[in-house]
């Protein structure tokens, strides 16, 4: 009994215990969690108007808002949700109860408007400024007048209820995010607007991949394909992400241009050498911040700085050289503004200070804004918009515009069955390993700590994955298998060195373990360096594998192995 007490009082065991508890908190498993979780809310949909907020994509799975009931009918699964939502009438009111609060939602009409080939007169109200003499002084006042204009006739048909704009999925039971091959995601097929060669298409795909990576979406499958008529296509599969994000990131050509008096001075991609993404020079604009607009919605401004290449700076200097200086109040500006265009539509205009005339400026601040129903949502949207713009600036434009042909939700390649079979496999492997170890040592005092150690290590690995938002996919499972495999190897080495010391009557435990840890550290360093090049080799599979393996073996070597060695020392010491 004394030994057990000793074990739990040991600092290394306590550290492992704390890490284990933190891991469980990070995973926060709740097998009884019910309802459906909200994946995304379509902007301007009935749901968004009712105040349901679009969750940021970085949110923890268990932290997502859950729909508990609709009109007092409990929602337990995706199927129940869709069966309730299917027969909606326009202008019907829904009471959606989530884990957070109760939303009253009015179903929008789905309207089809067509412009007819005839026109009609319409009376509109207009506000004009007129000068009037009031009490002897001339004042400018606004007066509303009625005016008749001719507009094309519009036919308006109500087609039924509009989609309420919620994308949902069965409520997760843990914080562990599953990868594309285990959970499914969105599958988007894109077609280039004009015919391109296959090599060209691969360039396009490489840019898209870089874009998704810079944006922070890992675990993406990008493939080039062709249909039977020989048209080239790009197929993109992304886990859990919402369609709008995919459309924005890869459906956009992302042609970013800055123009002064209609002349392009720099473009996204090669002309921009650095885009700041750290907190000091990117984020919500401290000078402008957030505010309520006239329509009652919140809007937030963001800004970030970029650095231009010397060539682009020269071009800009040449353009500003020709401009004249205008004075506005106490400020002096150049006669033309720097206009920023994204895919041919203007996104921002910047006044250029007079002293920059003809100077080569490399640092430029880009700004923009986004709105939302609450301050928090507007902030989230602004930051998200900033991230998208930054991504486009870094990766440059796609060589050709792509149109989204199809976007569907796709079930996983491996799915539930695979997970179940992997779990069984894990249990079978653990039993098989235990049998070998017992056959070799015939001591429970070696076997039990070993088995506990293996299980603890897997839990900690999953906890870290949940904490850093890592997607568990096939490659990660392979990485976990390697970590556990080398982990078992190391546990046996420790046990053997201890037993060897016992037989050779070495009483100094430090000496007994010295060789074991020498071997373990050697094996550790070799595995880590072997994984580093894989982290940088293109495809997601290798990266996922490498990162999971490095995390796994590091947890083993620095947390669970020292605890194991100490437990054996306590148990086996006479």
């Amino acid at each position: 009994m004394g030994k057990i007490k000793q074990i739990f009082q040991n600092i290394r065991v306590i550290i492992m215990g704390i890490v284990l508890i933190l891991a469980i908190v990070a995973i926060s498993p709740n097998p009884f969690s019910q309802g459906v979780a909200i994946r995304s809310v379509t902007p301007n949909s009935s749901a968004a108007i009712a105040g349901i907020e679009n969750p940021p994509s970085s949110i923890w799975p268990m932290g997502r808002e859950r729909i508990v009931s609709i009109d007092n009918n409990p929602i337990r699964s995706e199927a129940e949700y869709y069966s309730l939502i299917s027969g909606l009438e326009p202008n019907q009111t829904l009471n959606i109860k989530t884990g957070k609060k109760l939303y009253k939602l009015r179903v929008k009409e789905k309207v089809n408007t067509t412009e007819l080939n005839e026109s009609e007169d319409r009376v509109i109200e207009e506000s004009i400024a007129v000068n009037e003499t009031i009490d002897g002084t001339v004042q400018e006042i606004n007066r509303t007048i009625k005016r008749v204009i001719r507009v094309p006739k519009i036919k308006r048909e109500v087609l039924g209820a509009e989609d309420i704009g919620l994308r949902i999925f069965d409520a997760p039971v843990t914080n562990i995010r599953k990868g594309l091959d285990l959970q499914g995601g969105v599958r988007v097929i894109l077609q280039p607007e004009e015919a391109v060669s296959e090599a060209y298409m691969l360039d396009v795909i490489a840019t898209m991949e870089q874009r998704l990576n810079v944006f922070g979406l890992s675990d993406v499958v990008l493939r080039s394909a062709s249909d039977l008529d020989g048209n080239l296509l790009a197929i993109v599969e992304i886990p859990g992400a919402n369609e709008e994000e995919v459309r924005d990131l890869i459906g956009k050509q992302g042609k970013f241009e800055a123009k002064i008096s209609n002349e392009t001075v720099f473009k996204g991609g090669e002309d921009i050498t650095y885009v700041c993404r750290s907190a000091e020079c990117a984020g919500i604009d401290p000078a402008r911040g957030c505010g309520i607009t006239e329509s009652g919605l919140w809007a937030c401004s963001y800004r970030f700085s970029i650095t231009l290449s010397p060539d682009a700076a020269k071009k800009q200097a040449q353009a500003t050289e020709k401009l004249s200086i205008v004075t506005e109040g106490s400020q002096r500006y150049l006669s033309e503004e720097l206009l920023l265009f994204l895919d041919n539509s203007q996104v921002d205009s910047l006044s250029i200070a007079a002293d920059l005339k003809g100077r080569e400026v490399t640092d430029i601040q880009i700004s923009g804004s986004a709105g939302g129903a609450s301050k928090q949502e507007a902030t989230t949207n602004a930051l998200q918009g900033m991230k998208k713009l930054q991504t486009l600036l870094i990766t440059g434009s796609l060589p050709v515009k792509l149109n989204v042909v199809k976007a569907d939700t796709i079930s996983p390649l491996l799915g539930e069955e695979f997970l179940k079979s992997t779990l069984w496999m894990g249990i079978a492997a653990l039993l098989a390993v235990s049998a070998v170890i017992y056959a070799r040592y015939r001591r429970m005092s070696l076997l039990i700590p070993m088995a506990v150690n293996i299980i603890v290590e897997v839990v900690i690995m999953l906890g870290v994955a949940a904490l850093i938002g890592w997607n568990i996919d096939l490659a990660s499972i392979a990485g976990i298998i390697v970590s556990v495999g080398t982990g078992v190897d190391q546990l046996i080495m420790i046990a053997d060195e201890i037993l060897l010391g016992e037989s050779q009557e070495i009483y100094d435990w430090k000496r007994r373990l010295k060789n074991a840890f020498f071997i373990i550290m050697g094996a550790y360093f070799t595995v880590v360096v072997a994984m580093v090049p894989l982290m940088f080799a293109g495809a997601g599979l290798l990266r996922g594998f490498a990162i999971t393996t490095i995390i796994g073996v590091s947890i083993g070597v620095f947390i669970s192995r020292p605890a194991y060695a100490k437990v054996l020392e306590i148990l086996l010491r006479e």
Binding site: I235, I492, T526, V529, V532, L541
Partner: protein
């Protein structure tokens, strides 16, 4: 029985102790054969591995239907019909089923493969092919990925060698460790080639796992021989072998359990490669690395 077993073990031990310098030939010959096989294959096909077209090439057929099928069943039955693995996934929008995507990595260049696949899908889903949409996925992206993977493996190997060299700081023992790991991977690769295994993405991961597993036993051996003072060199090798075989046996047991319990083709490929690799590693570590280090210690003494 136990006596007989002990006798056998002792005999084996004697053979090992006395003839290690001859047994050393086995891994070297295997390595040579493997290098020749891979070289020949490379000169003929330009590839050192049979790359499964599954490295992202093949067909995807989209079948629009709201009829529900069991994914596992149609997957099995189409796979059997075309004698090639297919994967089936469900497509949906807003909770309603739109259809299925059937993907197969059967060679798209080969005439007749598409016909076979479409016919099998028609039969299994009871539908006419007019409704299907077919996309052909070229293997060009696959080969780019494949090249990158091989390059990464090569760099991984070089970095690993540098760490081993820094760790042991003696030339011959470090070289022995690196050679053993190299032999393990090359011989395993050649065996998968001879077995005609088509290496997919999972296979690449398995080869990477082998680097880790094979270095474990080699470092164990070298450390025990070089850093321990007690007993003769042969005693230390045998002691290390006892630990080393436990390592290999546990991994082997886990891999066999995995093979037996997993229905997933992906996991199976990983397990088969690991099992082959472990057996080869046993030979490479205890016949090659051990022979080199024992000769080295003899010379030094």
């Amino acid at each position: 029985m136990a006596e007989g077993q002990k006798g056998m073990l002792q005999k084996l031990r004697r053979v090992y102790e006395e003839k290690l310098h001859i047994l050393w030939l086995i891994p070297n010959i295997l390595l040579l054969i493997a290098l020749i096989q891979i070289g020949l294959q490379f000169s003929q096909t330009g590839e050192i591995l049979h790359r499964g077209v599954s490295l992202r090439g093949g067909f995807t057929v989209t079948v629009p239907t709201n009829q529900e099928f069991s994914i596992d069943e149609i997957q099995d039955s189409i796979s059997r019909a075309i004698a090639y693995e297919v994967s089936v996934r469900r497509l949906s929008a807003a909770g309603a089923q739109l259809g299925y995507i059937i993907e197969s990595s059967v060679d798209p260049e080969k005439e007749g493969n598409l016909e076979l696949l479409l016919a099998a899908i028609e039969r299994n889903l009871n539908m006419n092919r007019d409704a299907f949409s077919v996309e052909i996925i070229g293997s060009s992206l696959g080969s780019a990925f494949f090249k990158q993977a091989l390059k990464a493996m090569l760099i991984a190997f070089v970095l690993m060698s540098i760490v081993v060299a820094i760790y042991f700081r003696t030339f011959v023992p470090s070289l022995a460790v690196i050679l053993a790991a190299f032999s393990d991977i090359v011989i395993t690769m050649s065996i998968t080639n001879i077995l005609g295994m088509k290496i997919g993405t999972a296979g690449i991961a398995a080869f990477l796992m082998l680097i880790g597993y094979s270095v474990d036993t080699d470092i164990l051996l070298t450390t025990r021989v070089m850093r321990r003072q007690q007993g003769s060199v042969m005693d230390r090798i045998l002691g290390a072998m006892k630990t080393g075989s436990t390592l290999s046996l546990t991994t082997l047991a886990a891999a066999i359990a995995g093979l037996a319990f997993s229905q997933s083709e992906v996991i199976r490929q990983i397990m088969v490669i690991i099992i082959i690799g472990l057996v080869v590693d046993f030979i490479a570590t205890w016949l090659q690395n051990a022979a080199i280090i024992s000769m080295y210690m003899k010379k030094r003494a």
